[in-house]
Amino acid sequence: MKIVVDWNRCTGLGICESLAPGVFEVDDAGDLVLLSETVSDDDLEGVRQAIEGCPTEALRLEP
């Protein structure tokens, strides 16, 4: 599975980082950085929560 970010929607609120810190990080400038685009099985649950928890609905998973 691959994470796709809608960069027009993302404002770097960072909830994703707190739920899946191995995958998402907000940088010093406040922009989201994907630490890995593909999701390991270990990270999948956290990423699913991050998708649900994103206030701007900027995240989705693609096969």
Partner: protein
Amino acid sequence: MSARRFVVVGASLAGLRAVEAARKSGFDGPITLIGAEPHLPYDRPPLSKAVLDGTDLPAFRGEEVLRDELGAELVLGTAATALDTAARTVRAGKREFGYDALVIATGAGARTLPGTEGLRGVHTLRTRDDAQAVRRALDAGARTVVVGAGFIGSEVASAARKRGLDVTIVEALPTPLVRAVGQTMGAACAALHARAGTDLRCGVGVAAVEGEGTVERVRLTDGTMLAADLVVAGIGAVPATGWLAGSGLPLDDGVVCDETLFTGAPGVYAAGDVARWHNPMFGRHMRLEHWTSAAEQGAVAARNALDPEAAKPYSTVPYFWSDWYGSRIQFVGVPATDEVRVVDGQPGGDHFVALYREGDRLAGALTLNGQTQIMKYRGLIMRGATWTEGLEFTGRRRAAAMERVRARP
């Protein structure tokens, strides 16, 4: 799964998430979504941010999605007026809705300024209609007075300044935001106003809002007169529990719930701004008015209501954010008062990080333009980090940053 009819009262974020979670969990019975506002569910944080700047706000989901894909009967523009927990019915408008499982997500209503009913130009900012009215006034170049220097009021002031309009904030307390972030950091956040050209007046109340049909001025308790075309009251919100009077549900600044969001009445759970639940993360009851908890509680309440035998607790580190004058304020945890320590940047500057201690525990963190740090502290608090562990984390970050500076050619 034993429930047959699922009713959700409150058609905002928590209510929508309740409907979505019910379907996601496999519930295939009838769902009714009852909302007081005529609008489809929409997002509220943008109302005091992007919407005031001129951005249009789409509904969360189209009507077809809600009706056809989610199979929800929409009863909008209809406030619920009574709950009978014995008969298991909700009254809304002229109809009565029977339920097996019920999620109460009626949110909170904005507190209004007494004596301003019917005076044009005086608004609260809670609904889509409110935001549009405030935006129109700002578009017209209104001289703006904001009552209350909380997050909503500060965001309104920020929107006014962005347009170059004169704006005054009147705050009754000597320091704003004390309940949200504590004394010292409340003052640090408030410093942003003066730097942006907003006239913040603390420790003074509103004596009267005056005008003939339309607001013309605000008279303060110290005798000052402020000319105004627009007055926005940002003086807090009250949980919408009026309709539950006589229902027998435990009400105390919200619907009181256990850690699974259960109200004590069979099949009845609560979520979002209206719910005061026991948060196991901090071992106490709390009622939050935050996006994240509303979304998550909506989903948890629905799953628990539909399958009470397997009910799971909802545990969270609260999170909220607010955008002022191009700066982002973020807070995680609880604003404990045992100790507040600024560990990066400085109050009064463009960036700071403050940590909150409760006993020997790291209980909260506040950042101004500290987007890369805030969620790392949320992670620490989620894991139950001690105060010492929080400070050690700060120390390691600082050391790594120094190392990067030193390594620069």
